[in-house]
């Protein structure tokens, strides 16, 4: 019995909890991509870097607060800095839209042209981030690191395996739940949200019924900027902030959005968790798990790892390919906000 419990705790500690927090970060990112895809109708390759942009300002404000001696008790100061970074990130989004994207929207350029434009924006954001904060690895987490420490958990339960719960993981999941519920409430219940859904569903009909497209686009960028900033900051808190990693996040984020059904918010959230869980489950070495469950005669000799962690991207990619082959429109049919 204890062996069984140990095995479960092992999975919880190394798969379920990390996958939930990573999945939340992916879900927030994928939501941003989906929103842009549904309303502005292009694939925004700059989204990963937009996240790093938001995270950078969270770090800068954290440093500012720390220099004034302000902190958030046991919570990381970055949470206090988050609203400010959101404001700046949204502001930046609106500026890029005004000076870059709007022109192509009015001209009704093809989605591929807009995607190309987003590459230009990506270059610029990368330059800004690297010039302002540098390419180095930054850790900006402060406050209490663990909610439950592995050792304490072992003492309390008397099990062999500990369940460590990092506070960043819990914060990530909580913030995601709050943000996503707010977002869904906004889309389903408010007038503006409904107008956005209508706009994404059928642009011409929405225009005929008197929906102001500029307003819809404006709100979209606010939502996208907020999501990107929060997702970037949470990712940076949980792992560490390194500008380069955010470019690599683009692939899993797009995979999440497409797997879920690009343009569908529910799909983006589900897709994020699907990608995160499969990445972690497939690259986890199950040796210890089987040692607990199987009798010692059947003990595995290898690591029982399907793929080494070097191939994390390969996992999200394979899932993407499978979805493209089997169900190109994603789990939830795309393009309905």
């Amino acid at each position: 019995m204890t062996d069984f419990l140990n095995a479960i705790i092992l999975l919880l500690n190394f798969i379920v909890v990390p996958a939930f927090s990573y999945g939340s970060q992916l879900a927030l990112g994928a939501l941003g991509v989906s929103f842009i895809y549904a309303i502005l109708r292009f694939a925004n390759y700059a989204h990963g870097d937009l996240m790093s942009f938001g995270a950078m300002f969270a770090i800068l404000f954290t440093w500012l607060f720390q220099s004034y001696g302000i902190n958030f008790g046991i919570l990381p100061t970055a949470l206090l800095a988050l609203p400010f970074s959101i404001i700046i990130c949204v502001f930046f989004c609106l500026i890029t839209d005004r000076f870059v994207f709007r022109y192509y929207r009015i001209k009704k350029s093809s989605p591929v042209t807009l995607a190309m434009v987003s590459l230009g924006v990506m270059f610029i954001i990368q330059a800004i981030v690297r010039v302002v904060i540098g390419p180095a690895d930054r850790k900006f987490f402060d406050g209490q690191k663990f909610i439950i420490k592995a050792k304490k958990f072992k003492e309390i339960t008397g099990l062999n395996e500990g369940l460590a719960l990092k506070s960043t993981q819990v914060i990530t999941i909580l913030v995601t739940v709050i943000l996503v519920s707010l977002l869904f409430w906004f889309l389903q219940k408010t007038r503006t949200g409904k107008s956005m859904r209508a706009f994404s569903d059928n642009e011409d009909l929405a225009l005929l019924s008197g929906i102001n497209p500029d307003r819809v686009v404006f709100i979209t960028w606010i939502v996208v900027g907020t999501l990107a900033s929060v997702a970037g900051t949470l990712y940076g808190l949980d792992k560490s902030f390194k500008p380069f990693t955010y470019l690599n996040l683009v692939l899993p984020i797009f995979a999440s959005a497409i797997v879920g059904g690009i343009g569908s918010p529910v799909g983006a959230v589900v897709g994020g968790y699907v990608i995160a869980f499969s990445e972690i489950m497939i690259t986890y070495a199950y040796k210890k798990f089987f040692i607990y469950l199987l009798p010692s005669s059947l003990e595995p000799s290898g690591l029982v790892q399907l793929l080494s962690t070097d191939y994390k991207f390969a996992v999200s990619y394979s899932i993407l390919v499978i979805v493209l082959l089997v169900r190109p429109s994603g789990i939830f049919k795309g393009r309905t906000l």
Partner: protein, 457 residues
């Protein structure tokens, strides 16, 4: 018509002036190095132009195809490591065979159980069984191979053929992968192909980085063979020294002292040998560039090229005219990727070393896109020009921005932290320049510097 030719000539003239400037201000060796990389970039951007300019296919996996070209140079030219083949070759061959078998079985299962409810269950079972079987042979042989003298080899090596073959093989590798990706993603939404290529490039680079038995991974492969002579051999050869002394005879005859003259001559020979090697590469690269340009232009203005333009400009009507859009897209995607693969092999050949960790999407994917867009999509000369301009800017952006920073902050103290910070971040200003250039061209000159010529014939 005259107007267009003028802009081509003008840009040619400007590029020549720039290279001469670099030659006089910095050094000739540097100028030729940049020129060589410009040619390679130009071939890459031509490959992408074939996809984007001819057919409107958005490929963001250039890095992967470049990497495959690089792998080809290693696999073709490196001499085989017999010891590694002895300990692990057999297991590797069996694994490869099993892999092919699994793919074939999955393919047939897919056919047989077309309408079966449990189709996916059966296929995934087959894949898992295949993977377990492959692992059984694969892991031990990998360990055995990587154990063979890990400091200098630890991989299977290559075939030991002349490295020039690898240019063709690199193209074939890239074409093969492009075929598979195209089969999966073409015919779906255009964004999906973009994501699929982005993903495959990441996966290819991950494989190159981590499969040490294949490519030595992050340990890099150094000392690849060369298609051109080595500097050291040149410096020792009689004819080269006499050639150099002939070139500089005027300068040498002014020096009366024999020892002094010998010293100067030695220095000149060393300098001359590096330049000679680079010029040999330059000649090889130029031949490839002109060959591909000839073929690409020939194709573009053939009925095939017209069909491609028709498909690009209006897929639906081209389809209605009986053109198989998906098939043609696949064709052009494969051809373009092959060109990129060739360029990737050329680049590794010139560097003489293969460093998988140096493949970054920004440098090998997005920069090439800037070249294509700036140069003019749909115009092969344009993309060559784009390759030249953008690579030149990319290289020269750092010294120029350093110079500009020095000017703008000249009022500040030497140790001013803001100034030091700016100087530290000089390498990143080129990202900014690239982004701004891309946005400006897309906005104000969407057809590029040399727009596509539409011939109505």
């Amino acid at each position: 018509m005259i107007n267009k030719n003028i802009s081509e000539l003008l840009s040619l003239f400007i590029m020549i002036t720039l290279f001469l400037l670099v030659g006089f201000i910095q050094s000739w060796s540097m100028s030729i190095t940049i020129l060589n990389m410009c040619i390679i970039s130009a071939i890459m951007s031509m490959g992408i132009n074939i996809q984007w300019g001819y057919a409107g296919i958005f490929n963001v996996g250039i890095m992967g195809f470049t990497g495959l070209g690089g792998l080809a140079t290693v696999l073709v030219s490196y001499s085989p490591v017999h010891e590694a083949w002895r300990v692990g070759g057999f297991g590797m061959i069996i694994s490869l065979f099993l892999l092919i078998l699994t793919v074939v079985i999955v393919f047939f299962l897919n056919r047989i159980y077309k309408n079966n409810k449990y189709k996916y269950l059966i296929i995934s079972l087959a894949i898992i069984v295949g993977l377990v079987l492959i692992n059984y042979f694969y892991r031990p042989s990998v360990l055995a191979i990587e154990d063979v003298n890990p400091a200098i080899s630890g991989f299977l090596g290559g075939l030991g053929l002349p490295i020039l073959f690898s240019w063709i093989v690199g193209g074939l590798f890239a074409a093969g992968v492009a075929f598979i990706i195209g089969k999966i993603a073409l015919g779906l939404r255009s964004d999906y192909l973009a994501i699929a290529t982005l993903g495959i490039s990441e996966v290819i680079i991950a494989v190159l980085k981590h499969e040490d038995w294949l490519s030595r991974g992050v340990k890099n492969v150094i000392g690849l063979k060369r298609p051109v002579p080595y500097e050291i051999d040149l410096q020792a050869s009689e004819w080269f020294i006499s050639f150099i002394s002939y070139l500089h005879s005027a300068k040498l005859s002014k020096i009366s002292e024999v020892l002094e003259r010998q010293k100067v001559l030695d220095q000149l020979v060393i300098e001359g040998s590096t330049i000679f090697v680079k010029i040999s590469y330059l000649i090889l690269f130029t031949i490839v560039l002109l060959f591909i340009l000839y073929l690409a232009n020939k194709a573009q203005f053939s009925p095939w090229g017209r069909m491609m333009r028709a498909i690009r400009d209006n897929e639906i009507s081209a389809n209605a005219m009986g053109k198989n859009v998906v098939k043609r897209h696949l064709q052009v995607f494969v051809i373009g990727s092959a060109v990129v693969g060739i360029a990737g092999a050329m680049m590794v050949t010139q560097n003489g070393l293969f460093t998988p960790s140096s493949y970054l999407p920004l440098r090998y994917t997005f920069l090439i896109w800037v070249m294509v867009i700036v140069g003019g999509s749909g115009n092969n000369l344009g993309s060559i020009l784009g390759g030249f301009i953008v690579w030149f800017t990319w290289i020269e952006a750092a010294p120029v921005s350093l110079y500009l920073i020095e000017i703008f902050t000249s009022g500040l103290d030497e140790n001013n932290s803001f100034k030091l910070h700016l100087v530290d971040s000089v390498p990143y200003f080129r990202f900014l320049i690239m982004g701004v250039v891309l946005l400006l061209v897309l906005r104000y000159r969407p057809k590029g510097v040399l727009p596509e010529k539409v011939r109505h014939s």
